[in-house]
Symmetry: C5
Subunit: 361 residues, 5 copies
């Protein structure tokens, strides 16, 4: 029960908490997914890397305008005061702050003079329950630092962290815009993993459909379809986000990095294309299911019809000679019984022949 | 009966009253939803708030060009003369006045030199009858005052009133354009509540479908689908309205407030996205229903076929030995009866085996 | 038969008459709907109104450049010579003349230097046969006069005539462009009446579906759907027509009147929106019908299965003891008959219990 | 068999011949539809008309730059050398020549400096086999002559020839662009005839569906649907062709003739609109068919259920008293037989009453 | 099993290998389809042709800026170092190199200053397994050479090689952009061959549907539909690629060659149009299948109903006179038996007549 309820409600983060409040009021909307907020900071340039975990957000403020790139990552959004502090210090618009803590944003990019705000969804596929789980990620791109805020600690960003640690030249010499690209790229690459898992599910169900069309498969296909609708809803707007970001005339995005944004944009299109193809295939499977059920019913009906059609007349004949009329000449005749058997066999064979000609047998 | 009739006719406010009249003729189209028109007025700036209820609309005229912001709210549109008076005093175009009293407008924004006219729908979800009820709201944004006109007293605007009363800085220091934004934001936030309720209905029906597919659920899904169509019809054009409003080059909309309009625009897109997803899910439920019914029929057919196929041949055999021929050697034979029983059991088991192999049992 | 044939052919006015002729050749295509052509003329300004019925079209030529506004209305298009005369005197392009008499035009607006040509459909809903009837209306807007040409006398324009007669200020002081607007507005208002009637039909069928799903309702829904397709085909292009007209940079359309064109444009959008919603609802009704039929079949099948499944084994048991074997010990036993009845009742109750558990009863 | 294969393959002219060849290689792709190529020539101005049939294409070369208009019409495209000669003399781009002889072009217009190349489909409706046959028509508009190339002799262009012969002023005084328009107009007018025939088919099938839903009608509807898909595929791109042609900034298209192109453009839109409406209607018929079959099955099931449900219990009762138990008191009782009949009649009537209440009878 | 799994997973090249890596990291994604990489080189101008097979890629570097055109073709992408070498020498952007070796790109064109990068899919139809196989082809257009990279050796490019060898004037005197066009044209021509084969499959299934609707055909149609979805996914973006390429303002594309790009663009549109038409036809076949199954079930039901309805009452009558009541006057009457037969025949004929009237026989 619990499981089912979550399925639909995830399309819509509970907004009741929020309705009627002044815009710009910070209220955390979404589940609290981590116990405590975790703040990590990486400050690096080509030669140097400083990495630490912060206890208080204020420790990061010193890095605001420090020339090499600083990446401040915050896991856990339920501590609204923390976001408020960042907002005040980094001069963030109240609406941006509201969006960060309200975990139901549509992916978007907004260019404020001092920073660019990007929000999108990190998705995971819960294999056991076979449904897609989403988590909101906000990126604030300033001139010398990037602030990323997510609901839980995720391992998706770890690959980027590794790259920085290993001192990959490109990422170490580029600015916060390239870092933002790298994070989004990691997220979009992760979408492909989800598609792969969904593709496997589709194949699995197709094979099962081949073997036997049970109501359970139908339900599973229906659930998969809904997850696909949800997936699509999350990914579709990212296309627009990246396209807008690429066209942004802002000092915060370097022209040489736009080719990378275009690259991740292409990947997003590919994800969307594949989602659409999968949707087509799934709806084809629904049709296949219905046809298979019809076919089976047809087969069942044929068995019934063949049995009934063969034996009902035979039974009638037997019934005739079960009658107790005094004057039934056949009853007395010696050869009646064998002749009757011949008759019954003839009827039987005639029926069989008829059904063969009709290709029912 | 009454209920059903309202369902479809709400797509279309009765226009018969109006057809053939000169444009600009004020005729109230729509139900009279309140007994008496109620006029409230709020005049405020950062430091001060004057709030009163007016008996006659003329009392508000003095506030027309008074510098701090004035919000005149009118509940009840059936008193056409009242609207006419406002129109004359505030110099409103006849077509605008006509639109205000004709409660069947498509949401739109119109920029007349002296004022901006916004019209859209406030929606409520009547949980008992499970249908969406709409109410038309008109906003007239002048340089120093905002006039809002609605069909009934609504509690949706109360949250905005509260904010003004509590002296929230932003709303108290902004102009009528921000106030208009705040009202629309309250209305759009309310849409999310409706979506939530609809989402709950969807989940409820999905669970019920799981348990038993009755015609009542089908009817309920169909009704929900229609309400979704209606909901979508009301919300879809608001997207365009907000987009146009944002792009308006008017002295009546300050540039700093445009980011707020963009924000509510984003929310509207999200509402529309979710409606589309729900529509997809609902149409998937229709398919699921049909498949479930087919499945059940299949199961019924199987039971019938199994029973008939097993017993019809057995009955035939019994019929044979019920015949009254004089010369039937088996009848005389001592072991006939037990042998026959063995034959019957063999046929029975053969059938059972056959159905097992066919996976019908 | 006759009725059915008209239904589809109305999508397409017979073009065979016309195919292969030189463009600009005047051939009347369409049914002759009135006996004689009727020409009426209204010449008015704020203070004065001259209204008369003309015998010959030449009588109207004097009004061509007469300053106050003149409205020449022609009912009946089969007299091609009449149209030719107007064409020659008012300097109308041959293609325009061809379009006027060929009653199968797609709604369009064309801006020739000297005049604007508007053509669109006046629609009526024939309640008895429940289908939509269309009539082509052409408007020629010159600098001082408006010529309207329709196939039959219609009462739709009467409301405009009444307004002129009553001396409504706006219409009496405006030019032919406003008059054209008023006529189109009357036509579009009439579309709402058709929508209302169709909405009533939809409700009626929905209620009937609820009661009993007969093939007649199916046919009626199908017919309604077709009429909707036809309706949509007629109204859809008007959107574009009005949008183009509004943007026309012509001396023949005054800027102050463009707000009125925008208004009727909005109404057209609303008509189209409602048509789309109705189409969605109707196609939902088709699904509902199919599901209802499936449900009923399911119910029929259940009754059959229950009856057959209960009585077939009972009959078999009775058949067993109807056999005439010499040696059947049960037949001799005294309590056989009552014991058999107990057995039969047990089987019966077992079956009933089984069906109850399956929720078939 | 032969017929069916053509149906689908016509969507795609055999390209195997062509694949891998250098672009610009002239290979005739398509069936050879005429025995010998036929070349006719018309040279005319307002006062004069010279018409002749040529044996060799070289005879036409003298007319290339001769001031009055020359129309060279070529029926039969299999003589590739002929097209090559024209290409060389009239200075045609190799790609154009390739397109002319490859009878599988998508309709298009191309503006080369010296000439405009137009290619589109002439369609016919083969009433007997009820499928749409297409033929490719190429037009080359030069400054003083128009070359038209088609696969077979067609009677569609005869009406234009007649007009030229009869000396219709407009066509005789206009240039090759007007002539091209006249030819396209004739082709598009012909599309309406096809639509009419298809409309008649639709009506015919609708009536038959009303009478009896046989698999043959289903097949016929399916075939009609496919022909509609084919028709649409051929006509859809012409819209774009005409729109592009109209906007061409070429000395080869006179501005005064653009109103004519717009006119034929409008007709094309109308054809497309009607095709879409027909497609909607046909897919509605498919639904209607399925529902009708379901309905009939329902009716069949009811008959079976009624019969079985009435007689199975009665037979059971008869079976009971056919048993041969020694001790069955009823058998001895004198009134048993009449009482049993009363019982049977009561059961019978009860059943009938039950079915009446269920509205199955 | 193996076969099925490949079907869906081909929509998505395994990205797991790649996820989380730095962009620009060269990892070969895709199957290794050839044993060893094969490098061929053609250097030609109008008069001369040098053709050789290289062992090491370095041998080609000398040709980089050599004035006549050089075509370097590489079959096999698993040797990542080779691509890396080319990238370094020819100054290719890291993202381009990544795309080359990652065989799951969406077709695209990218204009870097020094070169244009084109990637698209070469498709083949595996007739035995009846599925579409894709192979990624990358083209790098430099000022004097064209580098083509494909996964396997293909015979599609052989026709272009032949043309160069035979010294076709156009290709020999044009630059690398024309060569690129020629290669793409060969690939797109090949698409038509696939369409042909798919068209043949469609026809084949339509004929079979006509004969008998088996679940195997349904499965085959479903598979074909999926291959169509896959085909469409691969071809659709090429449209955009060619359109973008044509509009490129680059010194690497000569204006005189743009007409050729437009030509292949037109062919792509045609491929897409045909795919869409085929999709429509296939989905029509699915409907046809379902209807055919319904029809057959209907027929089966009729046979059952007729048989049961005729014989059940007859059997009942026989059952009546099989009863063993002592006092049944009919049993004693001499003519009972013949009269009963008459009665049975009358019932039988009545039933037959009834079914005939119902048109079930």
């Amino acid at each position: 029960m619990e499981k089912k309820i979550k399925r639909t409600s995830k399309f819509l983060k509970k907004a009741s908490k929020k309705a009627g409040l002044s815009p710009g009021t910070l209220v955390h909307v979404g589940e609290q997914k981590v116990e405590a907020t975790r703040i990590t900071l990486m400050n690096y340039d080509l030669d140097r890397l400083e990495e630490k975990e912060l206890n208080r957000i204020e420790e990061s403020f010193a890095y605001k305008d420090k020339p090499p790139v600083t990446w401040i990552n915050i896991d856990g959004l339920h501590e609204v005061e923390l976001v408020e502090k960042i907002g005040t210090y980094f001069n963030i618009h109240p609406l941006t702050m509201e969006d960060i803590v309200h975990a139901g944003q549509r992916p978007k990019v907004e260019d404020f003079e001092d920073y660019i705000y990007l929000v999108f969804k990190m998705l995971k596929f819960d294999d056991a329950k076979s449904h897609v789980v989403s988590e909101q990620v906000s990126l604030i791109i300033c001139s010398h630092c990037l602030i990323s805020l997510q609901e839980t600690e995720g391992d998706v960003f770890n690959s980027v962290r590794e790259r920085i640690r290993k001192g990959r030249v490109h990422i170490r010499k580029s600015g916060p815009d390239y870092l933002a690209y790298a994070l989004i790229d990691a997220v979009v690459d992760h979408y492909f993993l989800i598609l792969e898992k969904m593709g496997e599910k589709i194949e699995h169900f197709e094979e099962q459909l081949h073997v036997q069309a049970t109501p359970e498969i139908l339900q599973a296909i229906h659930d998969l379809k809904r997850e696909m609708i949800y997936f699509r809803k999350q990914v579709w707007p990212i296309r627009e986000v990246l396209s807008t970001w690429q066209k942004t005339e802002s000092a915060l995005v370097q022209d040489t990095n736009k080719v990378f944004i275009r690259d991740v944009y292409d990947h997003t299109i590919q994800v969307i294309d594949t989602i659409e193809s999968f949707r087509d295939i799934i709806s084809g499977m629904m049709d296949l299911y219905l046809s298979t059920v019809s076919n089976k019913m047809n087969e069942v009906m044929k068995v019934l019809t063949i049995m009934a059609t063969i034996f009902i007349p035979l039974t009638f004949v037997a019934g005739i000679y079960g009658m107790n009329f005094k004057f039934m000449p056949e009853l007395e005749w010696k050869w009646s019984y064998p002749v009757l058997w011949i008759l019954l066999v003839v009827i039987f064979c005639g029926m069989i022949f008829y059904f063969r000609r009709k290709k029912w047998l």
